[in-house]
Symmetry: C2
Subunit: 412 residues, 2 copies
């Protein structure tokens, strides 16, 4: 059986007309000879309106009940989707998470999938039905309803594709992954192929298309994903194992994150355990720390900088001020006007001079680099926020628009 | 364990404020020492809006998918109800039909309950939780979602009360069962006690309060029901086994049904099997026939009249016209301006003169009787629709407002 999992996001099933449009994509795939499994999100706006309802009752709605409440959104959508398929002459059967079953752990509102039952779906496929599975929801071994957290329908689709050995199509409201945000870089191009790793590193670009956790899931099981628009016929972006990505460019995309803050602890005594103290305190407060930079020590003292999400900057600063006092640091400085610009690409591994060129591009435009961090396939620079868009445009021009030349210049 | 099942109808959970009001009734019962099981309908309007959504897709939505769709209404309500109870400091756990489980047959959109699991509910009660059960929905042995048909939440509540040996409170938007429709008879009184049988015969009065099928269910298992208003503290109407109804009045209530039509087949050859032919044809078309009157035969011919719901009168007439031709009847006459007025009461069994008095009251007011039908505890007369309200008022005055005198006059 050639099985295709087609996942439709909230905007793709936003009203009955759009559900019908989605259903026609299913029928087209059937006509091509695929057995199709549909995964549907809740209709756009539904989940938010349910959350708002719960918030009107209490600021802290019980999480178990929240899952019971939210899971109605997808249940409604799959019933309507199956009805629509039947109207179009295609036998279809909706399935809630517990009917598949999508078995999860017990962590309500952000459960993880433990096991995917495939027997019922396989039976339905063999009998000629299209199973329409409610995304985002699961069931514990104690028959409690769970949900997988925001974007969880992507994870449902990828998990089903993994369990069924299927290809996974993700239908959304954008045509694919771009080399940069087209609102910043008008010349940004749609990427035809991208590796899981690149997709994960390009989170800020990719997240508009697909939930990153589900890409990690896909990477683990080697699920081939095709993200594409519900509203056109054109090919989108394939997310594939590295070895299947034909064209290994040095830089696949340029991203920027602007909601960052930098906190610097000035003149920290350079003793073992000091850094641990600072970051344990932040970890205990569930604050996610991004870039961490520690300069070389002079006369027994050093400066330590890190970035956090701007929404958490105030809280982080307060925590760090307390620790700074304990450890005898001179002062704590916070800068809310920073941005992180990054270039990402598999080709970086086998190419030299990429970092140097990036710094050169920034310098040439008068952009000062406040901090640098690198991974195997990504280089990030912290810069003044006011240069964020300029930096992205210039890096995109240098690395992507002149890409072909770059590839020739580079090389292992 | 003294268990109380409290069922709240759609208007009683119509918005978050009303859900909180309902939750306070639960807490009051807990304070009185009861263990409480809540059954909730969908929020008022929810089911209709889901039906409308499905109807926009197709005139004949698949019934299995209809059940998946509609069951989200109650699921949403119980999650919000449980959240509200928790906010008020009362540990509560919502349960969908499949989680109880409420096991039904496979007849989608009007399933019948086959079995009610009580173990999970009993465990929750023992652990101090209030189980909040989604009304109206069940699950088949194949794990398919079913619904019980309109008013099915009452049946859920009664079935749970039967299984748990509990008393059943039905909270609704009227204060109880009345001796007549108060909009027609300003002197109508709330009935403190009524037997299952009387309640069933008073369907047209009772149905505003409680679904009649659930009363039949209660009768079978002897479940004591208290129907009362969500919006006051006053006692409502107890629906009880006959032997517990203290006050056996001759006439418990007066009802009228105005959406009736009468169809008469004139000069039917009086041969065996003729009536069967007519009513089998109607039955095959799923038309419910109410009163049937056949006059004594003269010269081998008779007239046969029956009433049907006015919405089905046209269809019924067409069917009967065909049969009439086959059997050689003279003609078929339809009258859409008829009403059925009835008096109902357990005391009728042991009282004489009730029918005569009813006919006398109608005659005294110049109301002609077109047909009569009787059961052990009910007498119905078909009359011209324009006299419907007058008849109800006069019968109410004669049988209810002068009730005390009547009881003394009557007797076995």
């Amino acid at each position: 059986m050639k099985i295709l999992v087609q996942k439709f996001g909230g905007t793709s099933v936003g009203d009955l007309e759009r559900i019908e449009n989605a259903a026609r994509k299913v029928i087209k795939a059937l006509e091509k000879g695929y057995k199709v499994v549909v995964v549907s999100s809740a209709m756009a706006g539904e989940t938010d309106s349910l959350i708002n309802l719960a918030r009107k009752i209490t600021d802290f709605p019980n999480e178990r009940e929240m899952d019971v409440l939210l899971s109605t959104g997808e249940q409604k959508a799959v019933a309507l989707f199956a009805m629509t398929l039947r109207k179009l002459g295609c036998p279809a059967v909706s399935l809630c998470g517990w009917q598949v079953p999508i078995v999860t752990d017990k962590v309500h509102t952000k459960a993880r999938i433990k096991k995917v039952g495939t027997q019922r779906i396989r039976n339905l496929l063999e009998e000629g039905y299209v199973p329409v599975v409610a995304g985002f929801q699961g069931v514990t071994e104690d028959w409690e309803i769970t949900t997988l957290g925001r974007g969880g329908s992507d994870t449902t689709a990828v998990a089903l594709a993994a369990a069924l050995g299927a290809v996974c199509e993700i239908y959304t409201d954008v045509p694919g992954v771009f080399t940069a945000d087209p609102r910043i870089v008008p010349n940004a191009k749609k990427v035809p192929y991208i590796s899981y790793e690149e997709m994960i590193e390009l989170a800020s670009l990719g997240a508009k298309v697909m939930q990153i956790r589900s890409v990690e899931f896909a990477a683990r099981y080697g699920v081939r994903i095709h993200v594409r628009s519900s509203f056109s016929e054109e090919e989108g972006t394939w997310i594939l194992p590295e070895e299947e990505v034909m064209e290994k460019v040095v830089v696949r995309g340029v991203t920027v994150e602007t909601k960052e803050s930098r906190i610097t602890v000035v003149r920290v005594p350079d003793r073992p355990g000091i850094a641990a103290k600072i970051f344990k305190a932040l970890g205990d407060a569930h604050i996610v720390v991004d870039m961490i930079v520690q300069n070389v020590s002079h006369d027994g003292y050093t400066d330590m900088s890190f970035t956090v999400n701007r929404a958490e900057a105030q809280k982080a600063e307060e925590i760090v001020r307390k620790v700074a006092k304990e450890i005898g640091a001179k002062e704590v400085v916070r800068d809310d006007r920073v941005a992180k610009v990054s270039i990402v690409g598999l080709g970086m591994r086998s190419s030299y001079g990429t970092a140097g060129k990036m710094f050169e591009v920034l310098a040439r435009n008068g952009i000062n680099i406040m901090a640098i961090s690198t991974s195997e396939i990504k280089i990030s620079c912290l810069i003044d926020e006011k240069y964020a868009e300029l930096a992205v445009r210039e890096l995109h021009e240098a690395f992507i628009e002149e890409e072909d030349i770059e590839v020739e210049k580079g090389g292992g």
